[in-house]
Symmetry: D2
Subunit: 304 residues, 4 copies
Amino acid sequence: MDYQELISEVYQEVNELDLRGKVADYIPELTKVSRNRFGIALIDLEGKVYGVGDYQVPFSIQSISKVFTLTMVFHKFRSKLWSRVNVEPSGNPFNSIAQLEYEKGVPRNPFVNPGALVITDALTSKFENPTQSIRDYIDELAGQHCVRINEEVMQSELQHAERNTAMAYFLKAYKNFDNDIPEVIRTYVYQCSIEMCCEELAKAFSYLANDGYSIFAKREILNESQSRRVNALMLTCGFYDESGEFAFRVGLPGKSGVGGGVAAIMPGKFSIAVWSPELNEKGNSVKAIKALELLTDKLKFSLF
Amino acid sequence: MDYQELISEVYQEVNELDLRGKVADYIPELTKVSRNRFGIALIDLEGKVYGVGDYQVPFSIQSISKVFTLTMVFHKFRSKLWSRVNVEPSGNPFNSIAQLEYEKGVPRNPFVNPGALVITDALTSKFENPTQSIRDYIDELAGQHCVRINEEVMQSELQHAERNTAMAYFLKAYKNFDNDIPEVIRTYVYQCSIEMCCEELAKAFSYLANDGYSIFAKREILNESQSRRVNALMLTCGFYDESGEFAFRVGLPGKSGVGGGVAAIMPGKFSIAVWSPELNEKGNSVKAIKALELLTDKLKFSLF
Amino acid sequence: MDYQELISEVYQEVNELDLRGKVADYIPELTKVSRNRFGIALIDLEGKVYGVGDYQVPFSIQSISKVFTLTMVFHKFRSKLWSRVNVEPSGNPFNSIAQLEYEKGVPRNPFVNPGALVITDALTSKFENPTQSIRDYIDELAGQHCVRINEEVMQSELQHAERNTAMAYFLKAYKNFDNDIPEVIRTYVYQCSIEMCCEELAKAFSYLANDGYSIFAKREILNESQSRRVNALMLTCGFYDESGEFAFRVGLPGKSGVGGGVAAIMPGKFSIAVWSPELNEKGNSVKAIKALELLTDKLKFSLF
Amino acid sequence: MDYQELISEVYQEVNELDLRGKVADYIPELTKVSRNRFGIALIDLEGKVYGVGDYQVPFSIQSISKVFTLTMVFHKFRSKLWSRVNVEPSGNPFNSIAQLEYEKGVPRNPFVNPGALVITDALTSKFENPTQSIRDYIDELAGQHCVRINEEVMQSELQHAERNTAMAYFLKAYKNFDNDIPEVIRTYVYQCSIEMCCEELAKAFSYLANDGYSIFAKREILNESQSRRVNALMLTCGFYDESGEFAFRVGLPGKSGVGGGVAAIMPGKFSIAVWSPELNEKGNSVKAIKALELLTDKLKFSLF
């Protein structure tokens, strides 16, 4: 399999389809990105990089960061973590608070917003300097200094954090939140404001394609069983209320962000990151999803 | 890998755990089964059978039959099917009608009850004698006459069919139901009343482990892409509102039934059926799920 | 208080406002009514009739009939009735099935569709010939033969009865439905297909303004306490999910129907019926509601 | 009608029934009240006081205070207020956040917690010193200095304010909240921590029985139309998700609080306050509700 040829073909075919969506506008800063950006980076398990298009242009990773913080926290708390957050798909938008009420303060999974807030809260309990720890962790996973913070995005998100703050208070009302709410919200917003390019992101995801061992960090990040579980979570919950559709059409564990990025892995084969800012109505990048669908069609393999 | 040793170990370890649940009682006939039944059958892609415990004792397959009718209908309607039923996990109990109302008569997926009713309705539109067709189809998949109908279960389910009948009328109100409701309900109940043993069930599922080609029917049942999509659906939706948990703990595509059976596949490797009647509160067999979890732990591989 | 002058003023002022809505189209027959129809009839407790506009033109009373069947059943079952149906406002559309699921088969109140189906089922248990009994009962309340059935409306509603049939099966699944479902549905559709004019309707509602005694039937229909309770139910639940708004703006107990009619009462003073076919988005007649609001404004009294 | 005899009879009959409930325990301070407290005060429109039992013992009025703040705000904003909060019964518990999400940040009515928070926010926009203004306003309505703050209750509620704080942030996310959240929460908790006795409360509610004119304040508090509307709101929404039941059984506009108090009015006749700390599962005082039911039975009149 010539991965370079594969992603180049996919890149070209997607471009020819002229798919359109809508750049995220829930914070003003995100709308400033050119809607025509499109890049793909694939990294095999020897660390070889294949790239096409804007694969070295940094973008706001947003919710993709939740995979990194989940990994940090899962490693510390192990299975005890699952008393605070479930592992079921949500069937509701990522920022829904109704479900949290019906399920008495235990979020459906670590990728819906209330779940990610619980993860960030747990992280705050274990790491002295949470924001620096997140930055260092991701840099280590990618094997290089790569984490940048977009200060404008961060300020903008902090100014529009009412809904997440409401969720944090709601979690606290159910005794599922331990730390100072404004501090955790800041850390949460910090991680969402990270910018990375496709290449860096694919490198940082590599351990999940490799049973938990990172060839860039040169160490076991999670054990085999944990690594498989993170992948299972990404497959069932990684794309908001479109996760079933993504599993159905693409069949790879992955995580999307409203910045238009998607990171995914094929276990035992490769990690991949795709970026294009225009989103469908579920908040997932239209081009990135199409690219991954074409890719697994061409590969003639997926998980299944 | 010695599969016989593997399942024997799993069988013994599960038995030692003394897991308890509750035999399904929503119809009286199901409670008559001995709660201690427990069997495992695994079939590799050469058709070799490995079995332990009650793996040749027939049981009520119930919702596992939905995979067969979905396959029949998917093959006929191809992607047109997905305008009538979605592919998203539900997050709600399998027989919830509320979600159907919120989503205006398009069921979440083919495995929740309203989704399965749509599938049976579609099947009724394409097959002259639906019940005979289902029976013949499964026999062919298993490569042997094996389908029996438990008449007591069928009569009992027909007498308790109000909720499913309500769903069918509700679907019809949304113009997502074409055929005579009592007839479709009878076919639906018929398929749920099928009895098979683990060995037969594992054989009948074999095509899903083999990119759609059945070594027992000796023909392509679904093409590769379709077969992978059925597997994706089983992974995200096959275990009611415990699908995420099953993906997380086991990581294999599968489908459970309230008779206590679970059929699952490892793509490119094997199909497996496990049966034990005691259910957890989500309606899934406690022993069968534990057995599959131990099995993937021992195998050191899953999808992920 | 000169009631004739009052309703004439109201009639004229409403006409000048040129309020527009949408004639009910959920069954084709209802759309055939002229959208400009508008009539008001008020009956004082001596039985004096005041009328203006189309107050003697029959129209489809639809859900207003639920007050009559509730009265019949309440009289027979007394407080035992309330184990089968609650008396709380719904906050949901009248034909929602989700709430019925959350509340395990006990409808919110007798005026939402599932509640009215329970009432019609209870009526079927107590009256040999339910449809004839309903007809005779209303005729007696109005003191004259006045009940007509619109056969086209009835046939049309029977052909679109899937949603109500679904609810009946759902109620049966919760063991809150005793009789043959198609028979009860026929009776339910029959009562909704009754045509009466404003004058007849106001007469038939008179007992509710008079502590349960009908001056037209010349007998006690309900005792004081029961009559007050029906009024309380109309106030809190009589206008679907706009009941609060009606209590707030008008402040009289009443019941609306999608045929555009509203019947209401002022305890100790009068009963009133208003009809105009154009509905707001909640299913209530825009002109009828405005007319009653102006009327209570001019009267300088309401319940409150 | 001899009101003193009436309430004495009611008091005795209720006591004989030995009704039991559960004292509110959501904040520790509330549990310190003796569960046997029981008092009734009725004030006619000449200001004559009739009292029985513990009618001069102060208690925590809790949500009854929402009627006073609604009145303050309604008088200032008039009908513009209703773009920020609806007037429909909720059908959900008073502190549910799910409904707020479904209805995009517009609370169902001013008495559910999010609605009351909007009212307190609106009050904060119009009154310089909100807490002092509330105190002065109620004192004026009662015609005497009577408002006391229970500091222990206030501190306790402030320490358990996460859920209300969550709602405030959620409202802010929907741009339905203008002021500083901690400040508004403090004012909200302040008003809930007010202590008054039945006599004072009945006096303070008197204007609502008198078309908006307070004989104690000696001025019009609300105009006739506004006063009737507040009464309509109390009737449809004053008792949480038991409002329909209260209208059905009692038939008077009123408001309850989890301190065990209920204030109600009979238009044109009297205002009444009843207090007993034991609550039913909906959060309403079991004895107070029973007392008001007996009272309207004996009076042979209610609104209806």
